[in-house]
């Protein structure tokens, strides 16, 4: 293990890590509850995953194998720079393979490969408060969480159904964790919501600008909000991946010309590449 000279292991100082670690432990003990923490200034701006990076930096050890994805891709700017950051300040091994990773930091996707026990999934969260579009006052939303008073969100879903015939939320679809706390799953597509339910891996969420950490322990019930007569339906583009032919993964749409031409490819680049290798 070699880490860049002049840096503490994992970039953050030990007092900051202790503070974040205490927040993480309380977050795991109260599934879905947002724990405030003293978010630090990081060497990249808010919106680039500062919350996720601080959680990762507090959890990571020299034996970890780190994977970072941005919208499912291992090779986009955000993913590459965060992976390089931790290779530099923690000297850890990095990978693109979901199955090989012990720690996966993600922006807005859950890998298609099912996660297993022993893995930790760290989400980058822009807005941790699921109620903020309905109630902008933080003091009010905290009271609503305390009372488990989530009527506002049910009304919002009902109004969607009355207006459009279905719930018009395609990402960041609100979930109930362990039947108690309403939680924002970060802007993952609603397609990924079912993967959170009873996932064997530990899920940690970090919001740097909003200074909140929350968590879902392994094997914990995560239910997407719905109604008996309008059950939750995960949606995906009705197409096959034009690279690997997959019909059951989440797809990105690529516009190919000005005349309406388009094609779809898997959002999860590791999954798509593995499938093509197997098929060859």
């Amino acid at each position: 293990m070699t880490i860049a000279a002049g840096y503490n292991f994992g970039y953050l100082d030990e007092a900051t890590k202790r503070m974040i670690r205490r927040a993480i432990l309380k977050a795991v003990a109260i599934p879905g509850h947002q724990v405030p923490f003293g978010s630090r200034e990081m060497p990249l701006p808010y919106g680039w995953g500062t919350g996720g990076i601080q959680v990762t930096a507090s959890v990571i050890g020299p034996d970890d194998v780190l994977k970072v994805i941005d919208q499912g891709a291992d090779d986009t700017t955000n993913a590459v720079s965060i992976r390089r950051f931790f290779a530099k300040v923690a000297g850890v091994a990095t990978t693109g393979r979901t199955a090989e990773a012990t720690l996966i930091q993600t922006r807005h996707r859950i890998p298609e490969t099912p996660l297993r026990e022993g893995q930790i999934l760290v989400y980058q969260v822009p807005m941790p408060e699921p109620l903020f579009r309905l109630e902008p006052r933080v003091a009010e939303t905290q009271r609503m969480h305390a009372l488990a008073d989530y009527g506002l969100m049910h009304v919002k879903l009902y109004e969607d159904i009355a207006r459009y015939g279905h719930v018009a939320i395609s990402y960041n679809y609100p979930v109930m964790v362990n039947r108690r706390y309403l939680m924002a799953p970060s802007p993952i597509p609603a397609f990924d919501n079912p993967k959170m339910d009873r996932m064997p891996a530990l899920q940690l969420f970090g919001a740097g600008r909003e200074k909140r950490i929350y968590a879902v322990p392994p094997h914990t019930e995560v239910r997407s909000l719905d109604f008996e007569d309008h059950p939750f339906v995960p949606i995906r583009a009705d197409a096959a991946c034009s690279l690997c032919g997959s019909r059951d993964t989440y797809l990105d749409e690529i516009v190919t010309d000005d005349r309406g031409g388009r094609r779809f490819i898997c959002s999860d680049t590791d999954w798509c590449a593995s499938r093509r290798e197997e098929g060859r």
Binding site: R18, P36, H219
Partner: protein
Amino acid sequence: MLSPGFADPALDAQRCFRAVLEATSRPGRVQRLAEGVLEPPAPLGLAAAAVLLSLTDADTPVWLDAEAAPAADWLRFHAGCPLVAAPGDAAFVMACGAMPPLDGLNAGTEEAPHESATLLVQVAALDRGVTLRLSGPGIAREHRLRVAGLPPDFGLRWARNGAGFPRGVDLVLCAGAALAALPRTVRITEGDG
């Protein structure tokens, strides 16, 4: 003479934290710290001393019971944490003797349940004694944990702690180099059933 703290403060604290994180996310699974990461001050065992050193500092008031009090100087020197006189004022409560009453500890508030105390209890053993059957978040179906050294009415006290959810105290059991965690969401039935 005080014994030294972690040989490698960054990496040893990280390993200890990961053990506590694993224990908290999979309640009842016993984690074992590597022997020799530090010389625990009597009467603390390795796990209790390492957890306190990994998680406490100037921001966390700590309460030690009378049996744990001989470790006060070590803890104050290495962690720099304030030691408080009343268990209700502490963020971390360390008990080497009888488990203190849970309802005397800070359980947080309905709006800020994360402000609650974490209770560390040093028990006689985590591989013999009464069998606790655990269920709840972090547990697929059921985990079994054997503990020697908990009070006979522990099940009742724990049920009362869980009834106030989201308020409540989180428990870390330590025995030598082994530790197991019982976050407030865990439900316990006793016996081999």
